[in-house]
Amino acid sequence: MTAMQIFFLIVGLIILGSALMVVTTGNLIHAALWLIVTLFGVAVLYAILNASFLAVVQVVVYIGAIAILFIFAVMLTHKEMRDRGPQLNNGWWLNAVIALLTFGGLFWMLRSWNGFLKSAADLPASYDGVAQLGRALISPDAFVLPFEVASVLLLAALVGAVYIAFNRK
């Protein structure tokens, strides 16, 4: 095993462990903080894959915006930030079966794949993923249409939020 693979396994364990803590901890704020650990672990995975832009955007969007929003929402809605009810509902066995089936299916599909122990080829030193991503986002024969549609959608959401919050006199 190379150092990178050991590092990957450690990060994977941290992601899985913190994701488990998100759903098992009783304190809502702690759940949000564990979620941040999970999201940060995903950012580290991106960094391992040489996707520096995605790694940084993951931190900016998910930790800087979404997780902060979660924490604000929890603080503003709950007076007592501790959930004392039962942590499982009646449908838990059905969900467990579906999760096991999904895992089993993935395992069965990937059983014959022999790429697990391969390490990624080194990128050339001149490789600039950010520039390529930028060109792909604005080039007409790549993703300019989805990119613009997504921008318009976000703008519509922004206008909608302003409309709801607007105080008519």
């Binding site: 900016v60 902060i68 924490i71 950010v130």
Partner: protein
Amino acid sequence: MNFWFDPVNFIAHWLTGLLTGWGLAPWLAGAIIQLIGVVVLISLMMVFDIFLVWVERKVVARFQDRLGPNRVGPFGIFQPFADIIKLIIKEDITPDGADRVVYNLAPILSLMSVLLLWAIVPLAPVIFGVDLNVGALYIVAAGSIGTLSIIMAAWASNNKYALIGAFRQVAVLVSFEIPMIATMLIPTILAGSMGMNEIVQGQQNVWYVVLAPLAALIFMIAAIAELGRSPFDLNEAESEIVAGFHIEYTGMKFGLFYAGELLHAFTFGGFWAILFLGGYRFFGLENLGPLVAVVILFAKAMFGYWVIMWVRYTVMRIRIDQMLAFNWKFLTPVAFVLLMLTALMNTLLRGTPVAVYICGMLLTNVLLGWIIVEILRGYSRGEREKIEGAAPAAATAHR
């Protein structure tokens, strides 16, 4: 390679040779040297941080017509060490009902978010932590960890004043991030890269403060707001919420917040210098050697830090609604218009002689600034008339 010309890389090469000579694998030797580099850089910044306490106190004293610390050592320069001893031997109080782990983690994250920024600072052409090609975004990402630490500190202290302070501070941080990102994109457009090294390289002919003076101004305003310093220091208000989010912290834990704030101010001064004032460039003086370049960058960062202090200690603080209105209704639209205009002019003027390019960019900024001032004048005239009512005829004659 000459030791006196470039000591940092000389020592790194020598250590690599030594470690591989001992039979270590090259990647392991590289990792150890990286680790040593990180520890040395962070230690130097922390020691420098101690010095910043003295600088801050001396400068504020001058602004307020006092002497400042002047008893311990020459010019009171050893005062911070006395302060550190005081902070360390103070009682470490954890309030009742505090969330212990989160409470202790928050000050560490706060200082960490600042130290992380130094990874991408190009101290000299050959001395930098990492040349990240998404440097500008990395600054924002590290800042979001700082935001997180504020919320964690406030929530874990189990104190409602801390929570109110954090809500205010986070509202400021989240909203002033937007003009800051928009103005950081302007050097990105001019240099054609988000990497700090390439932005500094791009300022070979002319500093970006000449090409984009408005962007430099807006970045400075947004940086002061991000730092939570006066006139945007709403997290701290003695008469309402006392010390804001770090109200419950004592001893060295408070010291970490304080040190983080000072180093953050200096760091943003440094990024202002890198993005707009040419980084380590000073009319060819940086070619004398990497150490000279480091000194130049630190001098420029000190200048940025001094501007931040100058604003802090002379401008009155404003209310939160004024501050948010200032950001959303003024700074953000201006930053976006400036961004679009800079992108447009940069494309139009590409290929023209350097003098034409510089004059065109400067003229665009001056014109936009003039239009903004005219709009503001019209707006404030309207507001005044709304409050005072129609001015009497005698008063209008005087105008």
